[in-house]
């Protein structure tokens, strides 16, 4: 048996932890640079604010309805996520953190438990201990557990916990569940399914095994079986190293000059290298991209990317930063106001698995790795940005964060104040 614990409107809920007066009121959290809505409380959803709505488009609704607006406060969200995970760990021998606000619990061997009560107890404990509302679905497969947790959000009378296991209950639920909302059904599959007239998860289960295998391959087949209660998707309680690393930002102001854009890209590259080195990986390929403001249709638009391969996989700070700057110079065009840029390390190998090429100059490689090691050590001791390449200029241009809440749980100077009134 598996449980899926999903924090409700996580970022918005985090903002309410220290602001209980916002319970029952519309709350939204904006993406980096206050660009668009990335989290909405139920009340904000009810006002028609959609995921990804640009802030300037919803400003009107926000002002008319007194919506509380927050810039992303990621130290707070990270800390609250850690707390929820800790609570979950006390309920199951192994927990797979699936994302910042979701985790699977492996409940195998706990079959003598009343799972319905257990699901509700997990949810209630998370709420009491962390003030974060969590929806807990328990089912024989991960895919069904996801569906069960969604039911909790739809039906408050489930009190945050739902145990979905009886075949007739599963059928009833799947008949009403849109196939596009099933975990693992992507946009491309959905298009095919729509053409075939498959609307509900139940319709999908009714397809023949051959059809599913032919049209949706192995992953689609696994989903098909999981919906029937047969576990296919493995439990992964070990954190796998990331297969790609992306660092990108939108800028507070549009950037036209090449040197300025290159400086930003150098910073993104450096921060990507740090992530790469932390997971002991090497880069084989990197993509640098930059684009103009797509919401400003009156100005000339461009969006360009350049792919940089590395013959010898590398995690060297200098190599990657310089390569990124070089690529940025090549893709920059005059006359455009760049609003967003980024660096993605698209091909990653593990240090341990990599065989070096014959042509590498050992002496140079050693010098590079000593320099990189020193950069790591200085960064570790004095914080990010303590040492920089000249190419990075003054560092990343501070993003607009006009609505950020204090770092209540991660900075002594930001502790919430409690008055003696």
């Amino acid at each position: 048996m598996y449980a899926l614990a999903d924090c409700n409107n996580f970022f918005a809920s985090c903002e309410r932890v220290f602001r209980p007066e916002l319970n029952g009121k519309p709350v939204i959290v904006l993406s980096n640079n206050d660009g668009c809505a990335v989290a909405r409380s139920n009340e904000a959803k009810a006002l028609g604010i959609k995921m990804g709505d640009p802030y300037f488009k919803i400003r009107d609704i926000v002002e008319r309805n007194g919506v509380a607006v927050f810039s992303g406060n990621f130290p707070l969200y990270g800390d609250m996520s850690r707390r929820v995970q800790e609570v979950l760990r006390s309920f199951a021998p192994s927990v797979e953190q699936y994302s910042i606000d979701e985790a699977f619990l492996d409940l195998s061997g706990m079959d003598n438990i009343d799972f319905d009560t257990y699901a509700k107890r997990i949810s209630a404990t998370c709420l009491k201990w962390t003030a974060i509302p969590v929806s807990v679905g328990i089912a024989p497969t991960k895919t069904l557990a996801k569906i069960a947790s969604k039911l909790c959000k739809q039906y408050p009378r489930l009190q945050g916990g739902c145990y979905l296991h009886r075949p007739r209950d599963i059928e009833k639920v799947l008949r009403k569940f849109p196939v596009g909302d099933v975990w693992g059904i992507g946009r491309r599959s959905l298009k095919k399914l729509e053409q075939m007239g498959v609307r509900s998860a139940w319709d999908y289960v009714q397809l023949s095994e051959t059809t599913v295998r032919k049209l949706f391959f192995q992953p689609g087949f696994h989903t098909w079986k999981e919906l029937q209660g047969i576990p296919c998707i493995e439990f992964e309680d070990l954190v796998e190293p990331k297969q790609s690393i992306c660092v990108s930002r939108s800028f507070a102001h549009e950037i036209e000059a090449m040197p300025e854009l290159c400086e930003q890209v150098a910073n993104f590259a450096e921060s990507a290298v740090q992530k790469l080195r932390r997971q002991q990986s090497l880069a084989l390929e990197m993509v640098v991209f930059a684009s103009t403001n797509r919401f400003k249709e009156s100005t000339p638009q461009t969006s360009a990317g350049l792919c940089v391969p590395f013959i010898d996989a590398t995690a060297d700070h200098r190599t990657l930063v310089l390569a990124a700057v070089d690529a940025c110079r090549k893709l920059w065009r005059p006359g455009f106001g760049y609003k967003r840029a980024g660096v993605i390390i698209t091909k990653i190998v593990q240090e341990a698995d990599f065989v070096r090429s014959l042509w590498e100059d050992d002496g140079a490689a050693q010098r590079e790795s000593r320099l990189s090691q020193s950069i790591d050590n200085i960064t570790k001791a004095f914080g990010p940005g303590a040492i920089r390449f000249g190419a990075q200029g003054d560092g990343i241009v501070k993003a607009a964060r006009d609505h950020q809440s204090p770092h209540y749980t991660t900075r002594w100077e930001d502790l919430p104040k409690v008055t003696g009134k």
Binding site: R83, K128, W129, T130, L415
Partner: protein, 139 residues
């Protein structure tokens, strides 16, 4: 069950490289004990939060302006506990008297008559945010 025999061939001789210092062994070598303040002050790391005291309504309960108080949400409020409460849009730390007909928030400052008990009625927006477990103050 029989103990598994170690095959003779599996044992290999090896020699130490480098020096082996054979002085008096430190009797403390295997004993690594340290006092960990966090372990003492934070029983549940998932549910423990820190607040800063602002105001003097609790000075008799040893909570002075600027002190850090440790709050554990995992604990159930009990009669007479000190707790961070949220009442009508404001945080306040008080001693909570839980009676049959609701709660009363008691300030702890006998010298200042300005601080009066706050009865909690059905019209108040009220919740007990968490129970205070420790006060950290600078000596």
């Amino acid at each position: 069950m029989q103990p598994h025999p170690i095959p003779e061939s599996g044992l290999q001789e090896f020699s130490f490289l480098g020096e082996v210092k054979a002085g008096f062994p430190s009797p403390a070598e295997d004993v690594r004990e340290r006092l960990d303040l966090v372990k003492l002050l934070v029983r549940h790391s998932a549910s423990t939060f820190f607040f800063r005291v602002d105001g003097v309504s609790m000075v008799d309960a040893d909570m002075d302006e600027g002190d850090i108080i440790i709050v554990d949400r995992a604990l159930d409020p009990y009669n007479g506990c000190k707790a961070v409460c949220f009442i009508d849009g404001e945080y306040t730390v008080k001693r909570v008297e839980i009676g049959a007909d609701g709660a009363v928030l008691l300030p702890c400052n006998a010298k200042n008559k300005r601080y009066k008990p706050i009865p909690v009625g059905p019209d108040n927006q009220f919740l007990i945010w968490g129970v205070v477990t420790w006060v950290i103050k600078k000596a």
